[in-house]
């Protein structure tokens, strides 16, 4: 499909927002003015509308396709939350309005949303305080790691290391490194953090352990109480990667279980669309003793029920975002939580776990399930075995695309061979799950009789398999091909 730039016709003009006969040199010396026009597309409005409508048809989204992408929690996003986020009372609000003296009262609605959202997240996770500022999950990890660093520094502790189990999300070690820590990796055993390996790594200079629980195998860490005790005994803090909180909502609160810091991914657990890669939102919750280190500003409720921004926190790690986080995303998650309420959140968790276990059970004997026990919101399968005739996880993924499904996550976690990670979520019907499993069974059966046909997939999409090696080697990164 032609790019916008290839469709451009010189001197065609689209929308114009502000008519004027002025020229740049009326206001600026010639030396500060651009020497030639930017070569942006010159198209009519209908050209643009058609182009992006066509592009959208070359995409899979939850609205059109089952998306069992493990660890990404691709559930249905209710449509009314879009109406909420599009209210002009929110979209037209300048962030600095709240910072003008005496004008905080012109932003009371927005401040109330943030204040109440923090309270709700505290209750959901059992933490003492929250910040909504982190703009994505990994940004929340960085914020959490910086809070941990600030806490130890304030206590006069010399702690330079953070432990990340190999079953943790790959962003955990990257975030810890960016907060200035040396990262220590430990190997898991039987799909769990190995308490002995942890004990050995837990030296005096360890600031924190970052846990993903349920871990990337979809399994709950059975040794959790022992691990928590061990970490606190070493005067280290315990971080919970809550990207996939829909595995435990209402069944365990990470604060009650002894975790000190947690980040959530609002765009996963609380059903806000992810737009092809973002924006997200990654609020961070902390236990009592870490509250003074949260980023500023914080929202405070005064005795007369007014809300104000509070910057008076001398131990704060400072600004993580220019303002108050991705407020538009927070709004959608807030509306979603209000809609579901207490029962709805518990029900979401129960049904997410129900769907994952149902699918796991139905896939028994079809693919190998390396840890075949009750899983949480997701599980992994392994595409190994002679019956598959050399058909790999990648081939199965591509064959699923042909059948109109987005593929599961593949080759992650790295600790399982030919890994396929499924997360059906609570919003998919039994009929969808059954149809998906039936189609998967058909693909596996075809691997036995005609493996080449599976290896040739996809054949029904706009493109067949793409040459990723060539993309990395030749590096054509813009339409001008001048970047290699």
């Amino acid at each position: 499909m032609k790019t916008l730039f290839e469709q451009s016709i010189p001197c065609r003009q689209g929308v114009c927002a502000g008519l004027t006969s002025a020229r740049a040199t009326d206001f600026l010396p010639a030396g500060l003015v651009r020497s030639s026009r930017a070569r942006l597309p010159e198209l009519g409005e209908l050209d643009v509308v058609r182009h992006f409508t066509r592009l959208s048809r070359r995409n899979y989204g939850v609205d059109g396709n089952f998306y069992p992408l493990g660890s990404c929690t691709m559930k249905y996003n209710p449509k009314f939350t879009e109406q909420v986020a599009a209210l002009p009372g929110f979209t037209r609000l300048h962030p600095l309005m709240a910072q003008l003296r005496g004008a905080g009262h012109h932003t009371q609605g927005a401040l109330e949303v943030m204040y109440h959202m923090e309270q709700l997240l505290c209750e959901i996770t059992g933490m003492a305080g929250y910040t909504l500022h982190p703009m994505a999950g990994a940004h929340g990890e960085l914020t959490g790691a910086m809070i941990i660093a600030a806490y130890h520094k304030a206590k006069g502790n010399k702690k330079t290391k953070v432990i990340c189990p190999d079953s943790a999300h790959g962003t955990n070690p990257a975030s810890a490194a960016l907060a200035g820590f040396e990262v220590v990796s430990i190997e898991s055993r039987d799909g769990m953090v190995d308490p002995e390996a942890l004990r050995a790594a837990l030296t005096d200079d360890v600031a924190a352990v970052m846990m993903t629980c349920p871990n990337t195998l979809g399994l709950f860490e059975r040794n959790l109480p022992e691990i928590v005790e061990m970490i606190h005994a070493a005067d280290a803090l315990l971080y919970y990667d809550g990207a996939n909180l829909n595995a435990i909502m209402g069944k365990m609160r990470v604060g009650d279980a002894g975790f000190d810091v947690v980040h959530l991914n609002l765009h996963k657990t609380f059903a806000t669309p992810h737009g092809g890669g973002g924006p997200g939102s990654g609020p961070v919750g902390v236990c009592d003793k870490l509250v003074p280190f949260l980023p500023v500003s914080r929202v405070k409720k005064l005795d007369d029920n007014r809300f104000v921004l509070d910057y008076d926190h001398p131990q704060s790690i400072g600004y993580m975002a220019p303002f108050y986080g991705n407020f538009g995303v927070v709004l959608k998650a807030y509306a979603y939580i209000l809609r579901l309420g207490r029962e709805g959140l518990v029900r979401a968790t129960e049904n997410a776990v129900l769907a994952a276990n149902y699918m796991r059970k139905r896939l028994e004997g079809v693919l190998e399930i390396p840890h075949d026990r009750i899983c949480m919101h997701e599980f992994v399968a392994s595409a190994v075995g002679e019956a598959l005739n050399g058909v790999r996880a990648l081939d199965i993924a591509k064959a699923l695309l042909d059948k109109g499904y987005h593929a599961p996550t593949i080759y992650f976690p790295l600790i399982v061979k030919e890994c396929l990670m499924f997360e059906p979520t609570e919003t998919e019907s039994k009929d969808t799950l059954d149809a998906f499993v039936d189609d998967l069974i058909e693909i596996v059966r075809r691997a036995g009789t005609d493996p080449a046909s599976v290896q040739a997939a996809p054949v029904t999409l706009p493109v067949t398999r793409l040459d990723e090696t060539r993309a990395a080697r030749e590096m054509v990164l813009t339409d001008d091909c001048n970047c290699g």
Binding site: L69, T107, V183
Partner: protein, 444 residues
Amino acid sequence: MPYVPHTEEQTRAMLATIGVASMDELFADIPKHLRPRSFNLPAGLSEMEVLARMERLAAKNRTDMVSFLGAGFYDHHIPAAVDALAGRGEFYTAYTPYQPEASQGTLQAIFEYQTAMCRLLDMDVANASVYDGGSALFEAMMMGVRATKRTRLVVSQTLSPIYRIMLDSYTSNLNLELVTVPHKNGATDMAGMMDAVDHATAAVVVQNPDFFGNVGDYAELFDHARAVKAVGVMAVYPLMQAVLKTPGAMGADIAVAEGQSLGQPLSFGGPYLGVMACTSKMVRQMPGRIVGRTVDTKGRTGYVLTLQAREQHIRRQKATSNICSNQALCALRALVHVSLLGPGGLEQTALRCMELAHYALERLTVIPGVSRLGDAPFCNEFAVRLPVPAPQVVDQLTERGFVPGFPLGRYYPGLENCLLVACTEKHTREDIGVMAEMLGGLLR
């Protein structure tokens, strides 16, 4: 049951297939003593009830005022087609394009966005976006640190104070030295900047137009940076790039921007769009996602995420950064926005903003006691000195439905009487006239 589709009978059948008697058995791995001590959340509401509540909250925010607040974040018109196209479910409800064959829409859009940003900024390579302008600046500085293996970072005090505070936080654990060169009467101290950039400098950072709205030429500074092997970083206001000399033309190695002015609503601070572009020699230092063009098995053009070896899922703690998601939907909005306006529409919009701002300066400076801070060229934003503290004026005018601007004293000691005033194409000459008359009346 909202958003859970099973009938009771289906639920029973699923539990039976799994081989458990109840939902609760599915959670047997969570020990009893770890179960929640409380879960006191409000009961669920209907869609109608939530909407009504959110409408009430939205109405508590005043967005009907005539506002001259800018300071890096501007209320520009967003064509209706931006919402309509970016709101299409196939874009909106997609995830990161991990399966490229089923995500050509997202991938081609990012490729086109990369191209558009490179052309707007005159750079070779752009990434698929980062969170916002501030995190883009931090990532640009870290590119400089990695490329030079040096630790000294020089920034002008005319760089947005909001971003400077972010940079302070982000660098606090990293053994980096952040040197700030003070402004001179609201403008970049060019001689001071030249002096501060030396053989120990990793990166030098300037903003154009700067926080005070002033436009400058940083070519000489970037020449000097190149001579001492430091990296030159420039932050820009992308809409104004339609008319301003580009970072590329000035010799910057990295250009970053807050992309909010391209099709993103103000939305009380986010989501916004961190634009990052650089010269081709720095591409491997670039954080975040990048889309590349390639071919399929039949030789047809297609797009994939590329250069992933720099990223966290492969390099873990040795990755170029911890950034995993991008602002794909915001980048799409920016791309649709610039496509609808085209170079001509962008230029017209920028010029209209400039025309109104210059008119506003004229109207304000005829008021006795009001004068411009400095005399550098500017686009759509400028600072004026008032005979009284600026917050006082802001308070009084805001009560009457006009927000005259942002008081600079909040971030710049010594400038307590100064007000930063921004215009966009949404203002009218009448708005400006009324604001000027009210201000004149107050100061009389």
